[in-house]
Every structure is written in structure tokens, then in C-alpha cells.
């Protein structure tokens, strides 16, 4: 298969005067996990809905496995969708939910039963097939929804904020499971989220969206360490942004060092600072600093017992040139 799993070109959607999605291009390779990341209202869900076929695009094309699908209704697109609220059918058991897509495809009974069992097994839900969604926990519902989307062996998987209804611990657990499953099945996946942690940990590539456009697309390392715009730098992680004449220098708090000596190592940029506040996170410490010229900075360090800073201390903040990233404004 030479074709990419998904190829979107100049896809556009307007709602009245608002351009929700503004001529975006996106390609997802076979087996690739691509995340659409952005704040609410950035157009990521609309993009997903256009791929799924629930929202007709105003312009642009969508090709799935090389095949144009703009004119196909959702039920002919052959996609596996997992919704934010899971959208399990409340009047069917877990197994009936999983089997629904196969029933719609009129598969023979024995094959349906076998594949439903396999799918439930895949998400470690075998034995719970006879339960109704109302008798399942949030995490279990999530698994059923995933099995239901995968069992039809879709051309690709679309995940719409599937983790946002879970509590913190479960969310982190499911992150890992979804990632592992996706790699094992090598299924091309588009994942929509506003959670940068999910995006960074799960994706092969991330497309950061803002106001209907893709600001930057790249690997998690690219996005975090080499942000293309101020928006990307500020949206993902925390960034000290130091204004220069021709742009900004981005330095991540964990790369900003602090020493009690008055002088920093040679060849580094440095400021004399005062520690204004120490935020105790547990494994890490967050230090709010103010330079003598008024610049506010933030540093972060591992709480390994060696850092003994407290509010009111004076220090020198410095960083190495290779730890910073410059965004030049054209």
C-alpha cells in the first residue's frame, strides 16, 4: 500500500462567518498515530467530524486509503470511532455493542461471535460481555467502545477525546493501553485532544491547531523543543519567553539553572534573580523568580534533596545556548 492512510488537502469548513477549519493539509501514514492538539474551538473536532462524515466540508478533499470519501455517508466510510462519552448503546449488552458493526455488515453468526470474543479479549473485557453499559465502570466502558471500533477492522481509528471522562489515574493507565494496542495492530489513528500530556506521550506526530489552522506539525520532540510559534511554545508545557529584538528566545523551566554564586559559567546568558515563591509539587519544585530588571522567570528542578531554595533568596539564573530555542518573527 503506497497510499497514506489519510490524506487531507485544503480542508475547509465555515459556520456562518466563522471559519472553523481553514484550508488545512494533513497526511497520516499507515500505522501512524497523529494527534490533533489544541484549545477548545480550534477546529480539531470539526476536522474529525469531517473525516468521519458527520460534517460536510465546504472545500478541500479527504482521501482514505487513497479513495476520495467526501461524498460517502458516515456508514460507508469504514472508520472506527471512539467518542468522548463512548456513546455505547444503553439498550444493548457490551457484546451486542461490539457486535453491532458486524451485524450491520451482515457477517455470519459464528464469525460475529468469534470476532466479538476476540475483540473483547483484546481489550481485556472477556467475561464481561453480558453486562449492560450501565453496569460497567468508566474504564470498562472505554474498553468496550474501543473494541466496538476495532472489531470492524476499520481503515483507520478516530479517537475524539476518549480519555477526558476518566479520572487521573485511570487516564494515565488507558493512555498506555491505547498506545500499545495501536502499535500492536499498526492501525493508522487520528486522536483529538486538548491535553498536551496525552499528545506528547502517545503520538508519533502532533498537529497543533489554533483558530482553524495547523500551527505546527511534527514529532513530540519537535513540538516541545523546537516550537515554531509563540503559541505552540506557550500551549505545550511552560516556557520562559525572553523578548529579543528579532523574536523570542524560548527556554523551558527545567533547562533554566540556578546557582548561588554571583557568576554563571562563561558563555551563558544569566540574570541576578530573587526567589519569589517556591511551589512544592512533590517530585519537583517550581521556582518563581524575578530578575533585577523586572523579568519574571520560572525554573523547575528535581526535588532530590539538594535544592534548598526558599522565598527571598538571591541567586543567579542561567542557561546554555543549546538549551534555548529562538523563534524569529519574520
Amino acid at each position: 500500500m503506497a497510499d497514506p492512510a489519510l490524506q487531507i488537502t485544503t480542508l475547509t469548513k465555515r459556520f456562518g462567518t466563522l471559519t472553523a477549519v481553514d484550508a488545512i493539509d494533513l497526511t497520516v501514514a499507515q500505522g501512524e498515530f497523529v494527534t490533533l492538539l489544541g484549545p477548545s474551538g480550534c477546529g480539531k473536532t470539526t476536522t474529525l467530524n469531517m473525516i468521519a462524515g458527520f460534517v460536510p466540508p465546504d472545500a478541500g478533499s479527504i482521501r482514505l486509503q487513497g479513495r476520495p470519501v467526501e461524498s460517502l455517508p458516515p456508514f460507508r466510510r469504514d472508520l472506527g470511532l471512539v467518542f468522548q462519552d463512548y456513546a455505547l448503546f444503553p439498550h444493548m449488552t457490551a457484546a451486542e455493542n461490539v457486535g453491532f458493526g458486524l451485524r450491520m455488515r451482515r457477517l455470519p453468526r459464528e464469525e460475529t461471535v468469534r470476532r466479538v470474543a476476540e475483540a473483547l479479549d483484546l481489550v481485556q473485557m472477556s467475561g464481561l460481555g453480558e453486562r449492560r453499559p450501565s453496569q460497567l465502570s468508566g474504564g470498562q466502558r472505554q474498553r468496550v467502545a474501543l473494541a466496538r471500533a476495532l472489531v470492524i477492522r476499520p481503515a483507520m481509528l478516530l479517537l475524539d477525546e476518549p480519555l477526558s471522562n476518566l479520572d487521573l489515574k485511570l487516564r494515565e493507565e488507558m493512555r498506555g493501553e491505547i498506545s500499545a494496542l495501536q502499535r500492536r495492530l499498526a492501525i493508522a489513528t487520528v486522536f483529538v485532544t486538548h491535553d498536551q500530556g496525552e499528545a506528547l506521550t502517545m503520538s508519533d506526530r502532533i498537529a497543533v491547531m489554533r483558530a482553524g489552522r495547523i500551527e505546527q506539525i511534527g514529532t513530540p520532540t519537535d513540538i516541545y523543543e523546537r516550537p515554531a510559534t509563540r503559541f505552540v511554545a506557550g500551549f505545550i508545557g511552560t516556557a520562559n519567553m525572553i523578548e529579543d529584538t528579532d523574536g523570542v528566545t524560548v527556554i523551558r523551566p527545567e533547562r533554566l539553572r540556578l546557582s548561588s554564586a554571583e557568576h554563571a559559567p562563561p558563555g551563558t546568558r544569566h540574570w541576578p534573580v530573587r526567589v519569589e515563591h517556591v511551589v512544592y509539587i512533590g517530585p519537583r519544585l517550581e521556582l518563581r523568580l524575578r530578575a533585577t530588571d523586572g523579568t519574571r522567570l520560572q525554573a523547575e528542578m528535581v526535588n532530590d534533596g539538594t535544592a534548598a531554595w526558599s522565598a527571598g533568596d538571591t541567586a543567579t539564573a542561567w542557561f546554555r545556548a543549546e538549551d534555548a530555542w529562538a523563534i524569529r518573527t519574520p
Partner: protein, 270 residues
Amino acid sequence: MTGRLPWSALKLAVACIYLFMLGPIVITASVAFNQDNRSYFPPRGFSLQWWEAAFGPQWLQPLLFSLELATLTALISAAAGVPLAFAFQRYRFPGKALVRAITLGPLILPTLVTGIALLQFLSLIGLGRWMGFWALLIGHVVICLPFSVRTIAISLAAMPGNVEPAASSLGATPFAVLRHVTLPLAAPGVLAGMIFAFVHSFDDVNLSLFIARPGERPLTVAILGFLEFGFAPTLAAVSIVSMLIPLALVALFGRFVGIGDFLYQETGNG
């Protein structure tokens, strides 16, 4: 400092209100056990003869008539209510507000006025011979339809958000979505709407009064007519029987449709 005193006073008041509310019904029921054909309370002696009379042909005929009328009304209201609720809940179209106002109109207009309007209209266009069963059926559907439309619309609105798109993404055609997802999920609402229409039809006086005719009278109109001749414990027994039927229906099905929602619906014309 006010402590629990106001609450105790409230409890006492509430007990009195329940007494006021349920007293007459209890008295009616017990009067029907009198030995003689008199309305003694507490009853003197004990007899089941009035209950037997309540199921005699004189009362059985209007009772069966009412049951038949209410059942047909419920079925037709559901059949007409489903497409109406669907159109109101799922589509935007020019004229929607008007159609909705017309559908819910019989809730706002006094039923009595709807009754005389139908009486006049059918007579003027020469369909006076429809008076009785057919006119009653038409009138009851008009006044019961808003209940079933509203109940069904609520159940459609309460449907979990993405289940229909989910079914569609799994390969279900629009018809399959309707058949396997939407209608099964709307079924409790449709059932509730039918029970509602049944009860409303079974209990109606204000419309039936004008378009019933001898031999084709619902139970309520028959009771009303009999009252002019005076009182007998039989009538008490008949009243209680006619009260128990809707109660039994709701007790049977209320569990499936949520008795609370069911009763919250009942805020139309009395």
C-alpha cells in the same frame, strides 16, 4: 433557636392536607360497602352487592366503551405522536413553530371549548351521525395527542448524545440507525405517551359530554348522567373501579417509564 419546632408544625399541617386530599376518596370507597342503599359513613353493615352491581350490564357497557375508546386513542396518539415528535425534535423547517403550537394547542384551550367546537363543526358539515364513538375518538385523539407528543419528544431529547452517529460510523444506514438504536431507545417514551393518552382519554369529561350519545357514552359521562337521579352506593363502587383502572395501569408500567416523569407531565387541562 427555632430548632425543629417549625418542622413539627409543618408535619402536622402536611398530615391534615393528606387527610383533606385522600379523605373523600376513602369515604367514597367505604360507603360502597353499606348494607342499605344509603350513604352512611361509617358504613352500617357490610355488603358487596353494590360492587356486584358496579359490574352489572348497566355499568359494564360504558366501562367497556371507555376502555375501547381509550385504547384506540392511545394507539392512534402514539402512531401520530412519533412522527410529530421526531419532526419537532430533529428537524428545523419553516412552519415548525406553527405546527407545534397547533399540536400543543389543545393543552392550552379549555377541553370543553374544543368539545363544543367539534360538536358544531361536525353538525354543520353534515357529519352529525358521527356523534358517539367516531366523534369521541377524533376528539380524544385531538386532546391526548399533545401528551404523547411531549412525552416522546422528551425521550428523544434525553437520548444519550452520540449513539446515533456511533451507529452510523459502525456501518448502520439511516434506516438501521432508526430501527436498532433510535426507536428502541425511544420506546419507553412512546409507552409512557400511550399510558398518558389512555389515562387522559379514560378520565375525560369536558369533551365527551358534548359529543357522546345514548348508548355510546364513556363511563365518566354515564356517571355524570346517573348523578342527576341521585345517589346510590353503586355509584361509589363504580367511581372507585374507574379510579383503579388508570392507577393499576401506571402501577404496572410506571416502573418502566419512571412514575415521576409520568406525573410531572400531567399539567394540562383537568
